[in-house]
Symmetry: C2
Subunit: 486 residues, 2 copies
């Protein structure tokens, strides 16, 4: 190889690329190869198996691919397995995988409109398409009148941070960006439920609000935020001279999949002049089907609304949509214009520069993932996928409810079931641990009212009724085993 | 298609994937296809060319790929072109492109060690390899004694935010995470040079410090931070009851590629008990060659050190390395442990959970990009690439310095030349605009001492002496044209 020129010739690139495509196709087709679903290696074993120093000379591509199988594969936890019922589904559908390849191959930067206009404009259109696909309000679209629009973030964590910063600046008239929060006149207070995602607390810490100024509002029997408790806390805070500024509504909590009452909370947000952020990371996808759009009741009051196509919808990670009813607060908060990024298009004010919509400056051509997904799959198939998973979950729910030993401890409005063994925490946790250790499936847990609870999340594209039935049979059988042995 | 099962069959996936591989191979080989280097489309034209609604039914993959050429390609700005001299090089070397494909295909999540141990452990090893490759201190390695280690961030912007938050918590004994900055006793002050990257100001805004508490320290004739000015400002701030807490040293500024004097600034950081962050995003890569390791003088005092393999080194975006001498402050600042992320490995404390090293929770298997790059290319070839670009730049420097009409207005320690036409700003900017509009190459500019300055950055893998010579000839000729016409 010479000092310049490509690291692989075009022919080598194509040949080696085909080897990777074959690996992926085989990996995805091979259910047996997904055992154990959760890797059971000892901590440090892969680290130790890798040489301590980088190579001086190039090695054949085949050697690297052999080491993918030999060294890495035992340490993979198989998120694409049909027996994946843990955390959340993370469908990376094939069209999206190929779009990501195209993005890497093009190697363009989307930090400014000018640094690759197609990157920005396809993203704008994909965010508009998704507004329509989910039945969200028109004011989130770029082609509707007004200051609304959307952006792809890497994760919902980054999205909530961006929105909390925008809300902070809104509440302080842009002063906290300049003078910092140390000069602020009184504490700004944010509100979530006790069941909200940890990313909201992380955002409150990072942006200088502090976790003690994040109120964790109690939930009702369905684990959704209790709006009366929220109202009381807002009033008490205001009476104490604090400034309520941010409320996060969760549509599909991580623990149980609960939906906070957006409509009522939105009224409170308006009354107390708070930014209303909606975190629909997991179950926002369900709104692809009109019958699930009840979750949008009250959405017209949302200042920002986020969900992750990289969860249930089939986009490869990372791909998180965020819309703003008025993007101005966000771009005001984030925009900095050094001379080295100056360009005629930005100066002309006709274009969107997405670097002003998040913390990062540089950005990949992520919109390709959504474009390929929509066009190669189509909305109807996406809808049928959602309906299939909801139906599988309803089957599971009927089995749980018919079972004398297990009970569902939270409503199951979508595709996440929460269950406990009647014999108590010890049996419930023993079942989870033994099933995970068996390698046959993957489950995670949460804590509800102080009790250990199995979460069973359905949503992989390749999960069928037989996988769900087998999972349930294993749970029942492990429950029986641990009850009789205790 | 049924409701479950893959969106493409294994055979379709392979066939369609080959079409994408062919597209990339052709795109990269076709220099003529890279004109205009900077897209010249009108704002909105791609957005308008795309349908307003997503498709209901799947379309053939071929149609999508045809639209990549028909609709998107005119809106691509060609960062992989050998005539790319704008912003910074963004080499996405072929092995790294294929590694990214593998990452998308595996579809694993690296938020916790347990969610795919290979993802975390390969990353740890790749960060160690890179410490060795760059000649950085051993204490940044995981296999050295002590609390040091590294992590892949998406961008240097996220890295500096993470470090500023860690430094903030360090300076307030963890209290600002809890109580927020509104309760802080006095302003925390951060320090950078006037030539530092805008990401430091963005971080200061986002984390609640405020841009007024970010001191922009004046630079010397070489556009590097003046340590005497820094010392005077630190002393004045301390005398005024402020708390200096964070100093960012830039190794390779965006405007001119200047290197702040790390060694002297490090002494001040120690004296004033400030966190010392090093932003080597662009030119950190040069340390792959021992002859450029002069830049590390004083590195042993750095609390954190970041650089972007997705710039000069050949990793596809996004891939930014960050090391910490002691990772504890960062993980203390970022760590939140909800029950739904609880797992035996985390509870055992034997593993690294990278979610605690940045804002995001979810993360891709990014380390594959570095592993494939090192193994398919080898350190020697990476070094020869660096040396080649430095040599090309030195040739260019000699031509500029021999030219009566153009002068270099900043030292050129690495691969970024800054030039002005002697006839003044009007001619300099006319040259840049006309060359960019011609489509033959891409240049950007900065402002130095109030004057318009062309930045010419060399570093694409496929740039040869003939591309640099042609670029220079065009600059000279445009300068002559605009001087005689004015």
């Amino acid at each position: 190889m010479t000092a310049h020129g490509p690291a692989m010739s075009p022919d080598e690139f194509k040949r080696n690329g085909e080897a990777v495509l074959n690996w992926i196709a085989d990996y995805r087709a091979d259910e047996d190869g997904h055992r154990p679903v959760q890797s059971n290696i000892d901590p440090g074993s892969i680290y130790e198996a890798l040489p301590a120093s980088p190579p001086l000379h190039p090695e054949p591509f085949e050697s690297v691919m052999q080491d993918v199988d030999r060294v890495l594969r035992p340490g993979l936890t198989h998120w694409q397995s049909p027996d994946w019922f843990a955390y959340f589904p993370s469908n990376g559908a094939e069209p999206s995988v190929l779009a990501d390849l195209l993005s890497s191959g093009m190697g363009v930067q989307g930090m400014l409109w000018a640094t690759s206009p197609a990157c920005t404009e396809l993203e704008m259109r994909m965010l508009d398409w998704t507004v329509e696909a989910l039945g969200l309000p028109e004011h989130f679209r770029f082609d509707a009148p007004g200051p609304g629009g959307g952006v792809l973030q890497d994760t919902a964590s980054s999205a909530v941070l961006a929105c909390m910063v925008a809300a902070r600046e809104d509440a302080t008239d842009g002063q906290s960006n300049i003078d910092g929060l140390a000069q602020s006149t009184g504490p700004l207070i944010a509100y979530v439920s006790t069941q909200s995602h940890s990313s909201v607390e992380k955002a409150a810490r990072v942006c200088g609000i502090g976790s003690a100024n994040l109120r964790l509002i109690e939930v009702d029997d369905s684990f959704a935020m209790n709006p009366d408790a929220l109202a009381a806390t807002l009033e008490a805070d205001r009476a104490a001279g604090c400034r309520p500024f941010f409320i996060c509504v969760t549509l599909g909590t991580t623990g149980t999949g609960a939906f906070d009452p957006l409509d009522v909370i939105g009224e409170l947000a308006e009354q107390y002049e708070c930014w209303l952020h909606v975190d629909a990371a997991m179950f926002g996808t369900a709104a692809l089907c009109p019958e699930h759009r009840w979750m949008h009741e009250g959405v017209e009051r949302a200042d920002s609304w986020s969900f992750n196509p990289h969860k249930w919808m089939g986009a490869t990670f990372d791909c998180s949509c965020l819309w703003l009813r008025d993007a101005t607060a966000l771009t005001n908060a984030m925009s900095i214009n050094p001379a080295y990024l100056d360009n005629p298009a930005t100066a002309g004010g006709e274009v969107i520069d997405y670097r002003d919509w998040h913390v990062q400056l540089g950005r990949r051509f992520r919109a390709l993932k959504l474009w390929f997904l929509y066009r190669c799959v189509g909305l109807e198939r996406l809808q049928s996928m959602i309906r299939h998973h909801v139906q599988l979950t309803q089957e599971l729910v009927s089995w749980i409810d018919d079972d004398p030993d297990w009970h569902r401890v939270a409503p199951t409005p979508m595709t996440l079931a929460c269950l406990q063994h009647r014999a108590g925490d010890q049996v419930t946790s023993a079942v989870l641990n033994s099933l995970n250790e068996s390698g046959s499936m993957a489950l995670t847990h949460c804590e509800l009212d102080g009790r250990y609870t199995i979460r069973l999340s359905i949503g992989q594209w390749n999960t069928t009724i037989s996988h769900v039935r087998a999972a349930w049979d294993r749970i029942v059988s492990a429950g029986t085993e641990f009850t009789s042995s205790s």
